[in-house]
């Protein structure tokens, strides 16, 4: 069986995207939440909208078997998680070590200088 995109599926995707965008925008601009919670809400709304667009616009996951598009996509998600997560982890770890006082920093640099 082959999935056929219809006007209805595009319209659903479009309306859902607009609603999600506006929700995120209004939450941020009116300062309904603050700090950590807000970041999470933005991320969650972005991920939902990502899924909406992938399903309704890019028709991911509805192709007939074998679902190569889906498999390549999932692999890329893994790579992206490694690149982005790894970069943030390494750099925040570096920042953490660089936060000490200049004297301590010099001491640390001297002790870690050997390559």
């Amino acid at each position: 069986m082959n999935f056929k995109p219809t006007f209805k599926s595009y319209l659903t995707g479009f309306i859902l995207s607009i609603m999600l965008t506006l929700t995120a925008y209004i939450t941020v601009v009116n300062h309904f939440l603050c700090g950590c919670k807000l970041i999470w809400i933005i991320l969650i709304l972005a991920v939902i909208q990502l899924l909406v667009q992938l399903t309704f616009f890019l028709h991911l996951g509805v192709e007939p078997k074998p679902k190569w598009k889906l498999y390549t996509f999932l692999f890329v998600v893994l790579i992206i998680a490694i690149i982005v997560g790894g970069s943030l982890w390494i750099m925040s770890n570096l920042n953490y070590h660089m936060m000490s006082s200049p004297d301590l920093m010099n001491q640390y640099m001297n002790s870690q200088s050997g390559l």
Binding site: S17, I42, L45, F57, T72, F75
Partner: protein, 193 residues
Amino acid sequence: MELAEKTNHNIEKVTFGFWVYIMTDCVLFASLFATYAVLRNSTFGGKSGLELFNMPYILVETMLLLTSSFTIGLGLLAASRNAKKQLLGWLSLTFILGLGFLVMELAEFSKMIAEGNGFQRSGFLSSYFTLVGTHGLHISAGLLWIIVMIFQVSRRGLKGSIRQKIACLGLFWHFLDVIWILIFSIVYLMGVS
């Protein structure tokens, strides 16, 4: 195999190849996002996103691109129905919306640069201009592609190879919209919150 079935099979093969290209483009954007995420607070005493970004303006840009993603979807539907005139109409509308987005983005960039907040000002702005600029470059390429397709469709009609190109163009444009949603959320919304 019947001819129509064969054409569909070919379109699937070609769009899968194009899909793999899009996935590699995702990796490119992922590395730019990672760079931005690392450098987002490195303003070097300059302005941060909170002071720089004009959110209502960005929202209008976002809506333009979202709508253009919808209109190219309708164009794809028209192409599958063999409705050449409708396809041309939707492609033209997508082009106008995309051009509006690009012009707004470039106006924003030139305003920031004129105010001394160019890419050389701080690590934050370097990564910002690289990430958003790369997306803008993709949009420019997409606009060029839309013009080429408008000419090809109006001169040669909806033949097999042209259908493949239209299907790939649709994928590309939807993909750019997905990337923009991430830029809107991660760069702009998080930048001002």
